[in-house]
Symmetry: C2
């Protein structure tokens, strides 16, 4: 399936009209118009609609080639045949936001009551107001329940708001590079942009539609914005200290550096396509955004939420940093809501969700595929998957212990092989924690709700007894603080299943005692200086720790050469599998 950023289909922006829209500020807006586009076909049961939500300066033209001006859409890299938002499978909808200036009612629209442009008489709006209007549009298109609401930046705020405001109307939310509440720094950057516009005499209290727009103020505002959308690293790569059309400093205040030229160009170019008053209103809506407002906590805001979530952030995004996505993830996990999370590597900063779409494509495609009803595996698939698992007898023993229909968390789940098997064969609710991004992508594509994080610190968000089984397979000896991990497993899980290599095996002991070397055996095959194992434990060590910690060993199994060991396991077993519970 080739991924192509080239839009191969032509689209036209359509308009829907609604008689009125009540707003959070108490005002009811009359005669509201929405510009929107659709890509792909709605299926018979209207279950394949995905609403895509644009960021601050975006518009309804998300994909395809505009019939009007031949331009590609702002998310053409993500929407189209064979792409994540596959227009051969899904019906994708995008509309310009309330308050915008690209076809949807905003401050530059004419007030039907006065026949004049709203200007600053336009009411102050919120993200929830934007979503309320989108809900009218979605209903107008005959859709009761969206398959997903997805967007980056301000679009991500709308995706979150959809899941909270209309829990029965959206099956999945994909908030990308965003936050559940605007921070002081984010408000500060927006405020600078607003002040730059309002400082321009041409702004004239917003009454410039008959004269000339506040071009200089809007350009300065946009320049600040552009710095925040890029990263220190991407600016270094793109511009460095390169001079613009000169070999030496000019020693004047014309352009010296490429980066100056770029910012001036972007600033002045923005003036021709964006309305300064819309800048004021939309930034204000973002600043007001706080999903936790009126709730005891951010977690509580998700109390009625039914959606599954895919949360994505980007490493170099300092405008909406990863910790903000993790706040959302943490709040969702606090309510035990199904959430996959991954921080994608990119040096493009906040812009990454628009320009660095390759991995985003793969992970979103996998997540959307996981929303399809799980099919029972065919006999051949089951046999193949059993065959793979047969190479890991420890997996087979874990699968034996896990009860059908339960909630399972697999720590260090890798590509989600065990989770997928448990889900397909035991109908478990399968979640995982994994630190390596490329494994997570594969696991999410397999349909597991995988959280990117460190096992040693990553369980803190889960409430007590959130899972029936928490699994840690062949990883305990690689933990820096194994006791903390075991305690956390028994806090968030009713049962913990642990498998580890036995340092007490007779070959290991003999090797150490007689060779005068750190043990090196088939079970511990590494030279001392390159072993991933950080701690060595024997079966006896583990049993003794269970006694000390007052844990109940519910089941235990010992293996050597893929056969079970019953006699003198601490000497004879290579691998041990324990199932525990706290007393």
């Amino acid at each position: 399936m080739p991924i192509s950023a080239e839009a191969s289909f032509t689209v036209e922006t359509k308009v829907a009209q609604f008689p009125s829209l009540p707003l959070d500020c108490g005002v009811t807006l009359l005669g509201v118009q929405v510009a929107y586009e659709t890509y792909g076909t709605l299926n018979a049961d209207r279950s394949n609609a995905i609403l895509v939500l644009h960021g601050f300066s975006g518009d309804a033209h998300a994909a395809g080639v505009s019939k009007e001006n031949g331009q590609p859409g702002w998310w053409s890299a993500m929407i189209g045949p064979g792409l994540a938002f596959d227009t051969e499978k899904y019906c994708v909808i995008c509309s310009n936001v309330l308050g915008g200036c690209r076809g949807t009612t905003g401050p530059s629209s004419t007030d039907p009551e006065t026949g004049e442009r709203y200007g600053m008489r336009f009411p102050v709006i919120t993200i929830r107001d934007m979503v309320r209007l989108q809900k009218l549009l979605v209903e107008h298109l005959g859709i009761e329940r969206l398959l997903a609401a997805a967007g980056g930046s301000m679009g991500g705020m709308q995706a979150l708001e959809w899941a909270v405001s209309y829990p029965d109307s959206v099956r999945a939310a994909i908030p990308i590079a965003t936050t559940a509440r605007h921070s002081a720094q984010q408000i500060a950057f927006n405020e600078v942009g607003r002040q730059a516009i309002m400082a321009d005499p041409d702004w004239n209290q917003g009454n410039y539609y008959e004269t000339k727009p506040p071009a200089r103020g809007l350009a300065v505002a946009r320049m600040v914005g552009h710095i925040t959308y890029m990263s220190d690293a991407s600016m270094r790569h793109k511009f460095g200290r390169r001079l613009r059309d000169k070999d030496a400093f000019g020693f004047d205040f014309s352009v010296d550096f490429e980066v100056e030229s770029y910012l001036r160009y972007r600033g002045s170019q923005f003036v021709s396509r964006f309305d300064a008053n819309s800048y004021l209103y939309i930034t204000k809506a973002m600043d007001y955004f706080d999903l936790s407002a009126g709730h005891a906590s951010l977690s509580a805001a998700f109390d009625n939420t039914k959606a599954k979530f895919l949360v994505l952030s980007y490493t170099s995004d300092w405008l909406y940093p990863t910790y903000q996505s993790l706040e959302t993830v943490s709040a969702l996990r606090g309510r035990n809501i199904d959430v996959a999370f991954c921080e994608l590597p990119s040096h493009y900063g906040h812009d990454a969700f628009l320009v660095d779409a390759k991995e985003q494509n793969e992970i979103v495609r996998g997540f959307l595929a996981s929303l399809e009803k799980p099919k029972r595996p065919t006999v051949a698939q089951a046999a193949a998957s059993n065959g793979r698992l047969a190479n890991r007898l420890d997996y087979a023993m874990i699968a034996e212990i896990v009860e059908p229909g339960t909630k399972v968390l697999d720590l260090g789940c890798g590509t989600g092989e065990l989770l997928a098997w448990l889900r397909d064969h035991k109908q478990v609710d399968a979640r995982g924690v994994e630190i390596e991004a490329d494994k997570i992508r594969e696991a999410i594509a397999r349909g597991a709700a995988v959280y990117q994080g460190d096992i040693e610190t990553g369980l803190a968000d889960y409430p007590d007894a959130a899972f029936d089984f928490v699994v840690l397979s062949q990883t305990l000896q690689e933990m820096r603080y194994p006791l903390r991990v075991l305690r956390e497993m028994l806090r968030v899980g009713k049962h913990a299943i642990v498998a580890f290599p036995n340092f007490g095996h007779w070959r290991t002991r003999l090797s150490h005692a007689l060779s005068g070397r750190a043990p090196r055996t088939a079970l511990f095959p590494y030279d001392w200086y390159e072993s991933p194992n950080l701690h060595f434990l024997t079966i006896e060590d583990f049993v003794s720790l269970c006694r000390k910690e007052n844990w109940v060993i519910e089941q235990q199994a010992f293996l050597a050469k893929n056969r079970e060991v019953r006699f003198l396991p601490n000497l004879m077993a290579e691998t041990a599998v324990f199932s525990l519970r706290a007393r």
Copy 2:
């Protein structure tokens, strides 16, 4: 010695005049005036002068109470009796920079040739021009060689420039929270500020001294600046999403949030004390700053430098991030120049060097003290220090191996106890690497050039054979990748000295073989689940690795119970000390 941010002495700003100053742009400025202050007394041999250098919007009033307006200085927390820049020991000097508007010649000054204000006819200046004027001032005060040049932000650039431009005139440089070259992002933020000023019609091409200043543009520029001086975290702590004098959103464009109010206030207040044209010129000088320009590399820029360096950065400073300080440190280490480095923890962002002075005080005080001629320890001091070392026989054996007058690097040097002992008793050039900030502070105060970093990655900057001896004591077994560390030690050092606990000791082997438990002995006293040791090696393992890697064992010593072991060391020794070299 109490640290007090309260300035207890009154100071007056003085003025010095110079007939001319040649500039990098080729112009010679005539009739140049410098505003400066001094604190403390110059000693008889004029060897105790410290030049303190202000940041972008600072001035000559660095300490004490201004006679003019009763205000404290901008670095009152660092300069004064008992503080780091101790006015009872040092003579501290601070002057307003060239291009400024606080007493030193700048664009708001009158051009002696025309009798009119310079405005935009003022020549474009550089950081080197600023330093050139400071050199005139320092000579004027009768000082041939500064003890130190120290400053944060733009002041740090000047400190670096001093060490490069006047290598014989400065013994030490203390660049804090700064960079050796302005990055694209830093240029971009400055450019936004300049564009905001120049977009204000009141700027009038810089001719506003007879009319009114571009107050709105300058305020917007300052607001952007303030965001960059703080951090996301400090803004969250200081403002969060708190509303200003209201309980609910105003749904208008007056002030909603505290952070908006703060920025507006700071912006408007700045107008009364700063000249907009100075803003343009000084930001331009920073943007032009690139110490590596005209050199093959940044390291090459330091070829003639004779100063010792203390480089400091702050964890939450994203305007001048730590990686930029590390570029400087790396360039200095590439020339084997004596440099101590520490990243200090603070959530105050770039402002930390002004407002979070406690740790900065301690570390700068220690560094300045280390510039004093090392005194031979008294008999009592030597005995005390020998007494402490006697508890560490491995230290004593290392001290035995190290030859006097050599260059020694101690990995994981802790508080620098061994280094200080080696320096005092063997006159070695003592450097160290340590990861914990509080230990580094103590080590720097002991006079060791300690670099804050991870042993496993931190040696890459050093050239080959930069040291005579590289020491790793009782830490090899805690390394994640011990082989890499050993190889790096033998690259940057002519000899490597390694001490480690012997996992081959008979008690350890017996414990493992017979108990069926992970060995737990006096030598390895930890439970398996809480041991800091990540890899276990025996003496035999180590010797075998040396053979495999083709390393020559020059000396070896084996210890048990603080006595030397000669018979069957792999069974009998608890600790091994090896001195190696590459073949």
